[in-house]
């Protein structure tokens, strides 16, 4: 455990990168995922098709392949960014598909009667969406989104193979440095991930409580 304590700065910086990956791609995925969900339930057929195509392709592609495409494919197309940025792009692209499906399930949980009522009072599509459907959808969607974000926290560890110094990459480097500390490092890293997952879980619970309606 001494070695772990000695290296605490390095380990914390690794988790800092993990948090950076999770938070930035989480926020971006929330925006893109919601947009995709709106595309998929919207009245414009080409947008609907594009949304379904995106979700089908991305959701059925292993995350590692998405990473390979970003980190090795994009530079070939003259797109040269930091490796962390490639990782954020990959995680955003991947997680958006799952956020989309979660949000869509939330939208579907809104009763048809509400939408009919909104139409009956003459609200246009964007207002039906922003005033009636999405607020209720997001409430229903907090538990499944919690799962999506829990997976995202752990998915960030795929970046280890793509030159991003996040928590598991630090684990690997330190364990390679001092193999006798492998178990304590593994334990520390696992506890770190669990702590991050616990934050996501607690956040979801607070949101869930805060938005619950007493029927």
């Amino acid at each position: 455990m001494d070695f772990v304590w000695e290296q605490r700065d390095v380990i914390l910086r690794g988790f800092g990168t993990t948090v950076l990956l999770a938070v930035s791609s989480g926020l971006l995925a929330f925006i893109f995922g919601t947009l995709l969900a709106v595309m998929r339930v919207g009245p414009v057929p080409p947008l609907r098709w594009a949304g379904s195509a995106y979700v089908t392709v991305v959701r059925n592609t292993p995350l590692t392949l998405v990473f390979v495409f970003c980190t090795f494919g994009l530079p070939r197309m003259e797109v040269r960014l930091a490796f962390v940025t490639f990782a954020i792009i990959a995680l955003t692209v991947y997680t958006s598909a799952f956020v989309c499906e979660a949000v869509r399930s939330g939208i579907n949980s809104v009763e048809a009667g509400e939408i009919e009522a909104a139409r009956a009072v003459g609200l246009p599509f964007h207002q039906i969406l922003s005033l009636v459907v999405l607020p209720q959808a997001f409430r229903a969607v907090i538990p499944p989104l919690g799962s999506v974000y829990n997976a995202l926290v752990k998915n960030t560890s795929v970046a280890v193979a793509f030159s991003v110094a996040e928590a598991s990459s630090i684990f690997r480097r330190l364990a390679n440095d001092d193999a006798s500390a492998t178990w304590s490092l593994l334990l520390t890293t696992a506890v770190g991930y669990m702590a991050l997952a616990a934050v996501v879980f607690a956040g979801a619970r607070i949101l869930e409580r805060g938005t619950a309606i007493v029927r």
Partner: protein, 299 residues
Amino acid sequence: MKHRLRLPLTLLVTFAFVLTACGDDDEGIGGGGGDTTDPKVEEAKFEEGTTMADLAEAGAIKIGTKFDQPGLGSVSLESEEPEGFDVEIGKIVAAKLGIAAEDVEFIETVSANRESFIENGTVDIVIATYTINDERKELIDFAGPYYVAGQDLLVASDDDSINGPDDLAGKKVCAASGSTPIENIRENYPDAEPVEFDTYTECVDQLEAGQIDAVSTDDIILAGYASDPKYEGKFRVVGETFSEEPYGIGLAKGDDDFRTFLNDTLEESFEDESWKEAFDNTLGASGVEAPDPPEVDRY
């Protein structure tokens, strides 16, 4: 049901054919030819209970090597078996144990898993551009060295801004995770930005794509990439070595009889020229002259 399955099945089969047919036609260094040394297998007798006796009796040995180092240990698309200098050294050792080349099982080891593969018995020995150093000696033992390389830099051939390790400030330098070169860069050249991938092939790919500035590892490995027909004229080796990397054979810690045997085997191969032959057939193909064999270190 039968009818409905026919189309998807046809598609699947076609797809599989397309997939298998579209690989790059790359011929690595020393690839394509049956140019291996083929050391003479000897009838071997060893004292009961030693590792040599166990291996000789089993008639098989598992050797960990790199699968992505042209000239040292690499697998080309045409063959399943790795080829290169490390592989040839492995065959020389196996022959001394009375094991034919085809009974040697080569298992891929990457830089980061070599110690653990020896410790948990996944492989019997590791011959994988494995630098002998004191930290590793705490976990495993080394026979050899059988070659002494030095860390160097591979850069794009039109890049004249890097002419040695002191030009690395602010440059992205790639090496394999867990390897000696990446630690050397991190410790001694803190102004360089280290980039890590699991394999050097990935590093070289990133260099080709212009995403990084240099790949750093042992000169002999870089020479292999620079002369690979796939990358013809794209890279140059800087030629300023800044470390000494004695390559050894990794084996389980404390197996002194086996270590002595491996050292003897290496010394014999230095003397009877099978070492030089192995070098000329593999690394020598990239135009490198075989150096004098190193002195074995029986610590």
